[in-house]
């Protein structure tokens, strides 16, 4: 069951927008990181079920953070949430091991569909 969600984004507004798109009655635990480096550290400490990852961030980009997380956990479920919807950005993050890409601004239905898909994947892995 998906419970722990880590949101990695340098924008507090983007983190707030993502959280607001999720139902309040599912018992999700939210954790937040403000750049890629913080995201990797929190990932390793918390082992969230899903990590939402922005790409353009200070200190460490989302690309670097995905690479680093995948080195430690090949089964990490990382959903990239980005404004950079160039085809090259999408193929790069998928090649790095990201689970899927959602574009900003997020739509509730897209986010819920992504979580349901991730839930299925998680059950198969377990």
């Amino acid at each position: 069951m998906i419970k722990k969600l880590l949101i990695v984004d340098d924008s507090p507004i983007a983190r707030k927008m993502l959280k607001s798109c999720l139902p309040k009655d599912q018992g999700f635990e939210f954790y937040e990181a403000c750049d890629g480096k913080d995201g990797v550290e929190k990932y390793l400490n918390l082992r969230p079920d899903i990590t939402f990852m922005d790409l353009t961030m200070p200190v460490m980009t989302g690309y670097e953070a995905i690479e680093e997380i995948m080195k430690h956990d090949k089964n990490a479920l990382i959903i990239v949430v980005t404004a950079d919807v160039q085809m090259k950005a999408i193929t790069t993050v998928l090649d790095l091991g990201a689970y899927m890409v959602l574009r900003k601004p997020l739509k509730k239905e897209d986010l819920l569909a992504a979580i349901m898909k991730a839930q299925d994947t998680l059950q198969k892995v377990q």
């Binding site: 924008s11 707030k16 601004p105």
Partner: protein
């Protein structure tokens, strides 16, 4: 002249605007990448409020490392109105021509043109895509509709000359949204500045509040 309190965005308003700018420039980069086979590397947008008279110095501080610059400028107006300045580093025009040719974009109409006209046309086209998609998306997210003047282009001038002709209204406050970019292929980089005056600030504050209410 001082900046009045009602002309200043709060911290949260600035963050919302920064995120909207991030989304808007992401859209414009994707639109450009559809035309040119490249990846536009985006930076985190930056927002600053200043007196309009400070603007030329602020822009010059950002472009002073470039030997020469080219500028594509478009005015836009709706409830959100202002000036978009897309500033390219030296040599970007010729690099873009080469990239368009490798991307097999239809260049036959330009073949008989001298290189400076071709460069001007290319910068104008690329500028039109980047500015139009960025400002258009920003306006769309804030429930506004904007129209544009045709782009004006200054090609390969020293930055002091390139900016010297600009007239700024000393009584106005400017909200400057800056994004810097570079292309992974070709030596092309630059800045996009969106400058909107205090005429838009009251509307902008309301529009930002309405935008974020969707996520409360």
């Amino acid at each position: 002249m001082e900046i009045h309190e009602d002309q200043i965005l709060t911290g949260e308003e600035g963050e919302i605007l920064q995120e909207i700018m991030n989304i808007a420039f992401g859209k414009s980069a994707a639109d450009l990448a559809d035309v040119i086979d490249t990846h536009v590397v985006l930076s985190i947008p930056f927002i600053k409020i200043m007196q309009v008279t400070e603007l030329p110095v602020y822009i010059r501080d950002h472009v002073k490392d470039y030997k020469k610059i080219s500028i594509v400028e478009q005015n836009f107006w709706g409830r959100f109105k202002g000036d978009a300045l897309l500033i390219f580093s030296s040599g970007s025009g010729k690099e873009l021509i080469a990239m368009l040719q490798h991307g097999q974009v239809e260049m036959s109409s330009f073949e008989s043109d001298p290189i400076d006209i071709l460069e001007r046309e290319t910068l104008m086209e690329v500028g039109n895509i980047l500015i139009g998609a960025c400002v258009g998306k920003l306006a769309e997210l804030l429930k506004d509709v904007v129209t544009y003047t045709p782009p004006m282009v200054v090609v390969e001038r020293y930055y002091t000359d390139a900016l010297s002709g600009k007239q700024f209204d000393a009584d106005k406050t400017a909200i400057v949204l800056k994004t810097d970019f570079s292309f992974t292929e070709g030596n092309v980089s630059g800045f996009l500045f969106l400058v909107t005056s205090n005429d838009s600030i009251k509307w902008l504050k309301d529009a930002l509040r309405i935008f974020i209410e969707q996520y409360e």
